[in-house]
């Protein structure tokens, strides 16, 4: 989970890392109130709260004075995802860079420091890296005493809140000491269960946008029923082929094949761990209620333990509920426990209900059904939309 600057600064406060005086203005009303009664002294700097970097270059960080009025702040608020942060503008003698993250090469946390912090820091060539030995009690004295103290506190943030990344850039060196002027924190999703009480951050996806209606509905499927997973990973996309993919790795492999052939997924979703039929039924309804689909692809590797009859019964139940009745091609490729039974059931449904089902088992390479899907859906599109 990526945190906004103001949320990261709150974590710094909790761990005793010095931060600027500031106020987080979340609405027009907040801005009017602040402009009317300044709660701390200027000069000020105003920052839009968005998750993307390079805010300065995009005009999302601005100097602000009460003399110019509060319209500037109102405009900044419009471009921001989570309000505007107004801070005291500090003078830096020097800007440092400091972060802690995991290195996969070293398979340990890594402290990264540079005395040339600020924007474009990734172009700086001079970084010092310090591997953390987790079998020892943490102690750090590789830099100046002032910096070491900040490293120790940032380590506290990194471990206490299960961060994937804890970054201070820039870390201002001022007359009054070191001050963290920006924060970039990424929390480890798998560690969130340890922080339900101390971190009350609003849910978001990686890009920081709120989930769409369909995405929220899909997430709900897994929330209500913990057997297997189906729905948590659902993501709406711009394409026209409905996707019901299985398995973490297999889903990625198949999507790669589809995209490489020019197929445009209407969504992404993967399911695994033998979810019950009802969950697949709900997921199918969400995937296929999207308008203007030209195909549906239910695809997965040969399952290790997911019951195919269960999965495909759920799919068929969902399919039957869609109005108007889908007449576009539906390509299915699966294999695994009870596949033969599932196949027989699908063939009966195809005959009785007159769906355009194309059924493939493990004898057909899963990625080659990407080509079948793209060709059939293009044909359907030409016949129905390009008159």
């Amino acid at each position: 989970m990526n945190l906004y600057e103001f949320e990261g600064l709150e974590l710094f406060d909790k761990s005793g890392i010095p931060t600027p005086k500031r106020v987080h203005l979340q609405s027009s009303k907040d801005i009017e109130k602040f402009a009317a009664k300044l709660t701390f002294e200027g000069p000020y700097i105003a920052k839009a709260q968005i998750l993307a970097g390079k805010r300065g270059k995009s005009g999302l960080i601005k100097s602000w004075t009460p003399e110019v009025g509060y319209l500037d702040l109102q405009n900044l608020l419009k471009t921001s995802s989570r309000g505007v942060l107004v801070e005291e503008k500090l003078e830096a003698k020097k800007e440092h860079y400091l972060s802690i993250t995991y290195s996969t090469s070293k398979r340990s946390p890594l402290i990264i420091y540079s005395n040339e912090g600020g924007v474009d820091v990734e172009e700086v060539k001079k970084f010092e890296e310090f591997e953390v030995d987790l079998t020892q009690k943490f102690k750090f004295n590789e830099l100046t005493p002032e910096l070491n103290k900040i490293v120790e506190k940032l380590w506290q943030v990194f471990t206490e809140f299960d961060c994937r990344l804890a970054e201070i850039n820039p870390l201002f060196e001022t007359k009054g000491g070191l001050i963290a002027v920006d924060s970039k924190i990424i929390l480890d999703e798998d560690g969130l269960f340890r922080h339900e009480e101390d971190l009350g951050f609003e849910q978001r996806d990686i890009a920081g946008k709120k989930p769409t209606k369909a995405e929220a509905a899909a997430k709900q499927i897994d929330k209500e029923d913990h057997r297997g997973s189906a729905g948590s990973s659902y993501m709406e996309l711009d394409g026209d082929i409905g996707i019901i993919a299985a398995g973490g790795g297999g889903s990625l492999v198949n999507m790669d094949a589809l995209v490489a052939l020019g197929g445009k997924p209407a969504n992404y979703t993967e399911h695994s761990g033998n979810p019950p039929a009802e969950k697949i039924e709900k997921l199918t309804k969400i995937v296929l209620s999207k308008q203007n689909l030209i195909g549906c692809w239910l695809v997965g590797a040969t399952a290790n333990f997911t019951d195919m009859y269960e999965t495909l019964s759920g799919f068929v139940n969902g399919l039957k509920a869609i109005k108007p009745k889908p007449d576009y091609p539906i390509v299915i490729r699966r294999g695994g426990p009870r596949w033969e039974e599932a196949k027989k059931m699908l063939e009966q449904v195809k005959e009785k209900e007159d769906f355009d089902l194309h059924i493939y088992g493990p004898e057909t390479p899963m990625t080659s059904t990407a080509k079948i899907m793209v060709e059939l859906s293009n044909k359907y599109k030409n016949e129905h939309f390009n008159r």
Partner: protein, 298 residues
């Protein structure tokens, strides 16, 4: 031959009374793997599949000193303690099936395992199978013979599902595996492509390696470097996913730190380039692998 597990494997299953643990244990027994006992704190004294359940690893080892391997399938919140218990007992091979283990816990366990000189595989590892000999974890499900047949290829996969799919693709073309392993797709893992390749190097029956990798992290690039540095003598084949995942708007780099430590690494294209430069043959789709292998080994 095979690596890590064979007929001499005497396994413990931690979390044996849970859903994942009992399923794994049942499958392992059905495959002829010697599951000696299980552990679930608070359930000591019970029996499952005719095997005794103990409260702790230490207790199980006191009663069954022959145990040399453990498979851990406990909830994520308890995984760290379960692994540390196994490390303390100096079990040589610690397989972690549990998914969603916090990264800090994995890094902590890896550091402790390394210090103690024991091997950790996973977390999020589907397991290990040496066809015809033994299996650890849920790899191959309840019908491992469907996907896995004995042969001369070492298979290392970040994904459990893709391990079985690739093995099945090989089997259809008459190729089999010496040992297949899921290493998990987590940020920090106990055994990497490079770690396991060193073991396959010493296995005379493994003639080639197949790996399945994905975007993210540097394990594939590190492996490419390992191949070059060690002058790895066995042919290596790879399939790397990531075209779609990298096209998503949500795909975001890990801040500046990510750009700094993974400079020029991490994306699918980076991995493919590094592996090809090291002499690895990279397939565009998984089904190309059998032909690539046959052309090289002939």
């Amino acid at each position: 031959m095979s690596i890590l597990i064979d007929k001499n494997t005497k396994a413990l299953v931690q979390g044996i009374t849970g859903k994942e643990g009992s399923r794994a244990a049942e499958q392992m027994l059905a495959y002829g793997t010697e599951v000696v006992a299980g552990v679930t704190p608070g359930k000591g004294g019970q029996e499952i599949f005719g095997k005794p359940v103990y409260n702790s690893v230490q207790e199980a080892l006191t009663k069954h000193p022959e145990i040399n391997t453990t498979s851990i399938a406990v909830p994520a919140a308890f995984a760290k303690n379960a692994v540390l218990e196994a490390i303390e007992a100096r079990l040589a091979l610690i397989h972690v099936l549990t998914e969603h283990v916090p990264i800090f816990d994995s890094a902590f366990c890896y550091a402790q395992a390394k210090k103690a000189g024991v091997r950790m595989l996973g977390p999020s590892s589907i397991g290990i199978i040496s066809p015809g000999k033994a299996k650890l974890g849920s790899i191959g499900g309840s019908e491992p013979n469907f996907s896995y047949q004995q042969g001369k290829i070492g298979l290392i996969s970040k994904s459990g599902g893709m391990a079985s799919e690739l093995s099945f693709i090989l089997k259809k073309e008459g190729l089999g595996v010496s040992t297949a392993l899921g290493i998990g797709g987590d940020v920090i893992i106990g055994s990497t492509f490079s770690d396991l390749a060193s073991l396959f190097l010493d296995d005379p029956d493994t003639k080639a390696l197949v790996i399945y990798g994905e975007q993210g992290g540097t394990y594939e690039e590190d492996f490419a470097e390992f191949i070059v540095q060690s002058k790895f003598p066995k042919p290596v084949f790879a399939f790397i996913a990531g075209i779609f995942a990298e096209s998503l708007p949500a795909g975001q780099a890990l801040g500046h730190a990510g750009a700094i430590i993974e400079a020029g690494k991490g994306r699918r294209a980076d991995k493919v380039r590094a592996l090809e430069k090291a002499g690895v043959k990279v397939a565009n789709v998984p089904d190309e692998l059998p032909k690539l292998i046959k052309d090289t080994l002939k």
